[in-house]
């Protein structure tokens, strides 16, 4: 079954007529994702790459039965787009858009959580169920189906790790980029239980970075998990107070330090790789111990 998305997922693209929206719609279609509708207000009735475009999400859902949405709408309008999708009954929303004001996300995340809608992102590369469905902007060719699940705060670092896993003969179940912003629709601890229950996932890789305390909170949950988790934390040499690109990647005061995260994960029994290339061996080890 995999986590959240599979070959039956019917995807809607909000902002499909934009440059990014159209480019990645093509990539998603090429991967075999069922992109059933697009939405751009004012462009209803058009087609993009054979996909029908609607003016509102509501129209798109009632005409096509879309059950997941991916958002490429520019930052000033992205929070509104998430709320529109949630209101139209979409259950899984993946927001790729970078640069959304934090206050917009505080309100949006509170509302989608209350409605029980799953939001991934914003400022994220999206998610993949290897060989079945790609939602977002990850390069499909590096993935191969297999038993390893992955949750990451970083995009390109995810590609790097997936590539290492694939080259080491370790395929993936579902990979989710949760995003680099301080306020996220889904954090590690929101998603780990789904992988724990997923029969296709045998081991997990958790890719964290400096800033916030999501890794520490995840460590507490991992203590209760049956499946093995391998950790990695980026930004171990980053100086305090400097924002490293991601709005969330900043060590402020005494919170968010890499050492605290590594310590929390290790004390929960998670092997933490010091360098990326160590990850495949640790995953193999964990899979061997399990069987």
């Amino acid at each position: 079954m995999a986590v959240l998305i599979d070959k039956n997922t019917r995807v809607l693209v909000q902002g499909i007529t934009g440059r990014e929206g159209e480019f990645h719609t093509r990539q998603m279609l090429d991967y075999g994702t069922q992109v059933v509708a697009g939405v751009t207000p004012g462009k209803g009735g058009q087609e993009v790459l054979g996909v029908p475009v609607f003016d509102t999400v509501k129209q798109a859902v009632s005409a096509t039965g879309a059950d997941a949405s991916v958002i490429f709408v520019p930052a000033p309008f992205a929070a509104d787009a998430v709320l529109e999708a949630a209101d139209a009954g979409i259950r899984l929303i993946v927001c790729i858009t970078e640069g959304i004001p934090v206050q917009d996300m505080v309100k949006t995340v509170a509302l989608v959580r209350q409605k029980g809608v799953r939001l991934i992102g914003p400022n994220c590369p999206g998610m993949m169920t290897a060989g079945q469905c790609k939602i977002g902007i990850m390069p499909g060719n590096i993935f191969t189906p297999g038993p390893v699940g992955l949750i990451s705060r970083s995009g390109t670092l995810t590609y790097e790790i997936v590539d290492l896993l694939t080259k080491a003969g370790l395929g993936q179940s579902t990979c989710i980029g949760i995003g680099g912003d301080p306020v996220l629709g889904s954090t590690f601890v929101d998603l780990l239980p789904l992988f724990e229950e997923d029969p296709d996932t045998q081991a997990m890789v958790l890719v964290g970075e400096i800033g916030g305390s999501d890794e520490e909170i995840a460590a507490e949950y991992i203590r209760t998990m049956r499946k093995p988790v391998i950790g990695f934390i980026s930004g171990r040499t980053a100086p305090p107070g400097k924002r490293m690109g991601h709005a969330g990647a900043i060590i402020s005061g005494r919170t968010g330090t890499p050492q605290a995260k590594v310590d929390a994960l290790r004390s929960a029994g998670v092997p933490v790789a010091d360098a990326l290339y160590e990850i495949p061996a640790l995953v193999k080890q964990a899979l061997t111990n399990r069987t």
Binding site: S154, T156, G212, A247
Partner: protein, 382 residues
């Protein structure tokens, strides 16, 4: 974006937050004129982003306009060395304010609580000192109240927090109005931090922001054209300022190995890897997703503006970013910038092979993995 105290006070005053009378000065003469206008004793305060200003001599009391001018002369153009900025930060302006007579010093702060995904308002009767130290030594002395996102801070919450924190009872109603105005300013200006420390109760019963710190969410600047003029002054490093003008994510780190990559996480990991190999990164630079050749060229130029850079490491794992575009940008950069330092390049992912083919026979040092790239750049710059 961090803004200066005088700018924060300008913003806060617009929302009805009570601040001492005063104005900013760029010259000693201006400082004198402002002191004259205010009458009586004034404080002259260096406008720098580093904390611990007072202890470093950046806040000076003046009894006369002449004295205010002298203090301003000493401060403007100097470098203020504080515990947070041991190498010193340049002082370009001073804030000249009426001296206030302090009865009590408190603390007010509003910021995002990431774990709870909502704003938190903090009140403490232990003002005027480092709040992180208070948090560590007397955690009970900081009262916290969380704000419902669609509701905002309610008057009862402000009142309750102020009573619970032990603010003088007779000051609570004035302080409640102050705190609600501060919250309005925090929301209205898309702040990520609003901090009043000390929050002063004066001997004649007023509540005033003796100091003010306001950080603005960079993502929200598009809807605040009024902060455009603050942007320039928020930059302290000239190379960082130039990079941001060109739309490039660059942070100067002080080492001698220039780093360029795509994606914040990958670049951070590259810094880690170079450090593990025994090198010292000069910077963080993220070209982002889908970078075109001219952006790559620009990135190289920015990194080389740092005279300490002895070599550059490119680490690109292409998803949307294409390896051949990156290679073109590097080649353009090498020719137009007449690069003298060694460059190690690691390209993977989308069109990496095409990119590497373009770079053959150029004297660039190729690497297959991030680890190998880090080792090579450390070797050639040693």
């Amino acid at each position: 974006m961090k803004i200066h105290e005088y700018q924060a006070k300008e913003v806060l005053a617009r929302y009805g937050v009570a601040v001492p009378r005063g104005r900013v000065a760029s010259t000693p003469e201006e400082a004198r004129a402002i002191a004259q206008e205010l009458g009586g004793r004034v404080v002259v305060k260096a406008q720098v982003h580093a904390g611990g200003r007072g202890k470093a001599g950046g806040i000076r009391l003046a009894d006369t306009p002449e004295q205010a001018e002298q203090h301003a002369r000493a401060l403007i153009g100097s470098r203020l060395v504080t515990p947070q900025a041991p190498q010193g930060v340049p002082v370009h302006k001073v804030l000249v304010e009426e001296a206030i007579s302090i009865a009590q010093e408190y603390y007010l702060g509003i910021t995002l609580d990431r774990a709870r995904q909502r704003d938190v308002v903090m009140v403490s009767a232990m003002g005027g000192m480092d709040i992180e130290q208070v948090a560590e030594e007397h955690p009970d002395a900081i009262v916290k109240v969380w704000v419902e996102p669609w509701q905002g801070l309610m008057p009862y919450q402000a009142r309750q927090a102020l009573y619970d924190a032990g603010i003088a009872r007779e000051a609570v109603s004035t302080a409640t109005r102050f705190l609600l105005a501060l919250y309005k300013a925090y929301v209205g200006s898309d702040a990520s931090l609003a901090e009043i420390n000390p929050f002063v109760l004066t001997t004649d019963g007023q509540c005033l922001a003796a100091d003010a710190k306001l950080n603005i969410d960079d993502n929200a600047l598009f809807r605040h054209p009024e902060f455009g003029e603050y942007k320039e002054e928020s930059e302290e490093d000239p190379i960082e300022a130039e990079a941001h003008r060109r739309g490039i994510q660059y942070v100067r780190l002080g080492g001698d190995i220039g780093i360029i990559g795509n994606g914040a996480g990958l670049v951070m990991s590259t810094l880690d890897e170079v450090s593990r190999a025994g090198g010292k990164p000069a910077n963080f630079l993220d070209i982002g997703g889908g970078a075109k050749a001219d952006l790559v060229r620009n990135a190289l130029e920015i990194v080389l503006m740092d005279p300490n850079v002895k070599g550059v490491l490119f680490n690109v794992f292409g998803g949307i970013t294409r390896g051949d575009e990156v290679a073109k940008g590097i080649l353009e950069g090498i020719h137009s910038l007449q690069v003298q330092v060694p460059i190690v390049i690691r390209l993977a992912g989308t069109r990496a092979e095409e990119g590497l083919a373009l770079l053959q026979g150029t004297g660039l040092i190729p690497a297959v993995t991030m680890q190998e790239a880090a080792r090579k750049i450390v070797e050639v710059t040693r």
